[in-house]
């Protein structure tokens, strides 16, 4: 019973977040589509937190499989590539947009 309620709660969050996503993104001009894609790309790097939770759960479960530890560590590594690389690349792109060529002559 409470499982169903918990699931519904999560589904509500999902649906609302989708609407917020559409709403926020639809106002972004074409000029910024590349940085936008790159920034959202970095935000799904939040998967790194999932990987951290998972590796902790793996150790707590008492499963001592080197293969699984390897897979979980790989997940953390990939997640970290996604987060750090994604934000760094976005920052680099946006730096160029900032380079205001003040009232070109």
């Amino acid at each position: 019973m409470s499982d169903i309620n918990a699931l519904l709660g999560l589904l509500t969050i999902l649906v609302l977040a989708i609407f917020v996503g559409f709403e926020v993104i639809s106002k972004v001009p074409t000029t910024l589509h590349t940085p936008l894609m790159s920034a959202t790309n970095a935000i799904h790097g939040i998967v790194l937190i999932g990987a951290m939770v998972t590796i902790a759960a793996l150790f707590a479960s008492g499963l001592h499989s080197p293969l699984l530890i390897g897979a979980a560590t790989a997940a953390v590594t990939l997640g970290a590539i996604n987060v750090f690389g994604g934000f760094a690349v976005t920052e680099r792109m946006l730096q160029m947009f900032k380079g205001k060529d003040s009232k070109s002559k």
Partner: protein, 465 residues
Amino acid sequence: MIATTLGAIVDLVAIALFILGLHFLNSPAHARRGNRLAMLGMAIALIAAAWQTAGTAWLWIALGVVVGGAIGIFAALRVKMTAMPQMVALYNGAGGGAAALIALVEYYVQTHGAIGLYPVVGVSLILSAIIGAVSFAGSIVAFLKLQEVMIGRPITYPGQQFVNAIVALAIVGLGIWVFLGTSPAYAFPAMIGVALILGALFVLPIGGADMPVVISLLNSFTGLAVAIAGFELNNSLLIICGALVGASGTLLTVLMGKAMNRPLTNVLFGAFGAAGGSEPAGGGKGGPQNVRTASVDDVAIMLAYAQKVMIVPGYGMAVAQAQQSVKALADQLESRGVIVKYAIHPVAGRMPGHMNVLLAEANVPYPALLDMEDANPEFPTTDVALVIGANDVTNPAARNVTSSPIYGMPILDVDKAHNVIVLKRSMRSGFAGIENPLYEMPNCSMLFGDAKASVDELTAAVKAL
């Protein structure tokens, strides 16, 4: 208990920062602040997560974060701006791969006890594993194509869709088997393996100008996989972030489909300009077109004495890395009082907004960059339209040749300018193999050669006038 409450509060703050960050991306003036806010949100969320999960696993977490972070940042700082699309594809693939691996490990952790899988958790594990794996393999193939390790053109073979359908069916079958809980331990990794194959197969037939659509779609796939991973881990932060990204990726994908006036299914399964059979796509092998070529000096004079010049960049500019040279030419012209603007087609390049980023790198002020809707009314009053490495987005066949594969795609009306100069490497048709009648028009001349070299010569010639 206090730790969980604190964790929830931190998550809330992080989410607010992500949404604010995305909001600030709606104008170039605030965009950087937006990215900083999102970074701050991520930093807070990561620190809180590290604090909560450290325990026994800290060594492995630290190892992964340090190695992955170093690779990510190093690559991000080293990559050339022209290689940005494939870089984004790689980071996106990393996220998808992480989601698939999380599902894999969680599957064994959750089935380790005697209870078995809760249905919701089971479905989430299976879906995020499949979508994550498809996104991972698809992104890698997209990377290889964009990096030109692999042939960039669509790769097709007879029965391709049949093969893909079989592979997809195999995944569904394996997924159901895993869900029923009677499968052996190898079924889950096998399912991921087949999903990897599907991801690669699905990107193979897509090429060239359709790449921005695919990259954006893969981005939304990874977002979806992350959102579903949130369900298996009961983590609302993952759900929200995944949903934000999934929604934005989908929206971008749809926008680009509209810009090409092609439904998404056509992009994914149509293999633009290849296969198709009935389309006389690669057609027009009937001898060379009658085109006029111009010399550098002719073009330089035309440009220097124009009132308004519209520069139309395409993927060719990115390949030749000509953006700095283009800016130098524009500066030279502007110093002579010529008005220089840039017309950007929504699908020019290999990533949404690709041209805008390259020109921004060359310090072109963004108000000079016109969207298609703003640029088209200006072509009739434009003296010279300078097309640099763009082809299909300027093809007037899209307006009236119903048999053309790009019929119906909105294009930049460069043919309405008084003069059109096309900078092109050779007379070879674009990636889609479609002839461009623009080149035969009386107001059009060609200037053959590498885009960067040609633009540099033009700049020198204008300067010498």
